[in-house]
């Protein structure tokens, strides 16, 4: 673990130095030095409204992602448990998962308008499918010998599900949640850029079209950090829930 942190820090430091050097050497607006990006970031925080916009963005992210999480796990469980449900739904799930979400945006505008609802739906659409499919796979491929053993000792229905199938599928479900949270961040920015100019997405467009590259990079880096933190949160939860699995990996 310590080795990993050292490697992470070394990699960040190297990139920062190269960036700074390139920016200073090239003297172009296209690549502002990192230090300049840093001071632009401080400025954005103080009086550029970055925090306010970030809170708007995060609001959409949280609501959209939790909708995707709840519905994704619920539908995934139903599909994984009942073959009929799977056969009814897998066509749509696979079709929608493979098609670009952006293609649905005109429809979303018609249905939900240009407000916050549309953006929540975009976040939802970005992250829902991978959570549903992973959950389904996890439940469907639970080690059949564990199910047989439980049935032999008298487990049935709901008890079998929450004592055996759900915990057994948890590593797979959490892998889907982790992918889903990353996609939710993408959905958040996409919604803000394409649908309605608010939040960090609006700032990207605003500073981008003004060629204020230092501020632009500052916002992009902020979103990157948000994505990393969101993934990290899921990772920590995952490690708590499936600690028995992690120990196997360490061996």
């Amino acid at each position: 673990m310590n080795q990993r942190i050292t490697a992470n820090l070394a990699s960040i430091l190297t990139l920062a130095i190269i960036w700074e050097a390139l920016g200073r050497g090239l003297q172009t607006i296209l690549i502002p030095p990192l230090s300049q990006v840093g001071s632009a970031w401080l400025h954005l925080i103080k009086n550029g409204g970055l925090l306010e916009n970030l809170i708007i963005s995060l609001g959409t992210l949280v609501v959209g992602f939790f909708l995707a999480l709840t519905l994704g796990v619920a539908i995934g469980v139903l599909m994984g448990s009942f073959e009929k449900v799977e056969h009814c739904l897998d066509l749509y799930i696979n079709g929608l998962m493979a098609s670009p979400t952006i293609a649905f945006i005109p429809v979303l505008i018609l249905w939900f308008g240009l407000g916050v609802q549309s953006r929540i739906v975009v976040v939802f659409l970005f992250s829902f499918f991978v959570i549903a499919v992973n959950t389904m796979t996890g439940i469907k491929y639970v080690d059949s010998s564990l199910v047989e053993m439980s049935r032999s000792f008298g487990a049935k229905g709901w008890e079998l599900f929450y004592k055996v199938q759900l915990p057994a599928a948890l590593p797979m479900i959490m892998a889907g949640v982790k992918l889903g949270v990353g996609r939710a961040v993408k959905g958040m920015v996409t919604g803000e850029v394409v649908l309605a100019l608010t939040g960090t997405g609006a700032m990207i467009m605003q500073y981008g079209s003004a060629f204020a590259t230092d501020a632009l990079f500052a916002i992009i880096l902020t979103i990157l950090v948000v994505a990393l933190i969101a993934m990290k949160i899921v990772e920590v939860i995952d490690r708590r829930l499936t600690s028995w699995k992690v120990e196997i990996a360490v061996e």
Binding site: S145, E148, S150, R151, S152, E159, K163, K245, I248
Partner: protein, 264 residues
Amino acid sequence: MAGSGMLEIQQVSKTFQKVVKEKTMEVKALTEVELSIRDKEFVSIIGPSGCGKTTLLKIIDGLIPCDGGQVLINGRKVTAPGPDRAVVFQSFALLPWRTVLANVEFSLELRQVPKEERSQIARTYVERVGLSEFEDHFPHEISGGMQQRAGLARALAVKPLILLMDEPFGSVDAQTRQLLQEELLELWQREQKTVVFITHSMDEAVYLSDRVVVMTPRPGRVAEILNVPLPRPRIGHDVRRSREFVELTNYIWESLKKAMRTTQ
């Protein structure tokens, strides 16, 4: 659990539907298996791979229905898994997210034993199989032999009349296997249970059993039933090297060969 662990297998047949290259084929796994097992008797069932031994065990447990004949326990027909039976699985089938103790408690949980009693009973059986030191370990942290001891403790904890064992020592090394066999005999003598033991080791069958049932290849049926008159307790003696023991294993081998030839 009070009562007697008498088991009657009457004319049990089972056919599976198997889909091969989109064609449904019927595979006859068992045909008219007939066998009576006395209360507290230790019976091994031996036969070539694919003879339906495990299928028979699952039918006795009530996990799958038979499509001909019936299984009676104390005269009552088996329709589903019940508290009078417990299975020890070849693959151990321990829940990887539960510790040894919690795995043993699992069977008690499913049988609605109250919480305080549960951990007390589980501890007793964990101790009986010699795993007290490892009760807080997860399955992947202990050896295969220990995992199966936990599986055995889990089955014994619910105090079944009949213990169904499906090649329980099939996936541990030879030395551990002998050790587990001796431990099983000790536990069996102490716990007084009917045991149905599936194996394909002739040695194991003779060493453990009162009677050995030889099955034919698919479709499985009883080819021969053999008494094992070796004196008990068999622990601590060099039973395995006695002339009688060798003769019995040789006899089973001949019987198996004959059963395999006649069907092929």
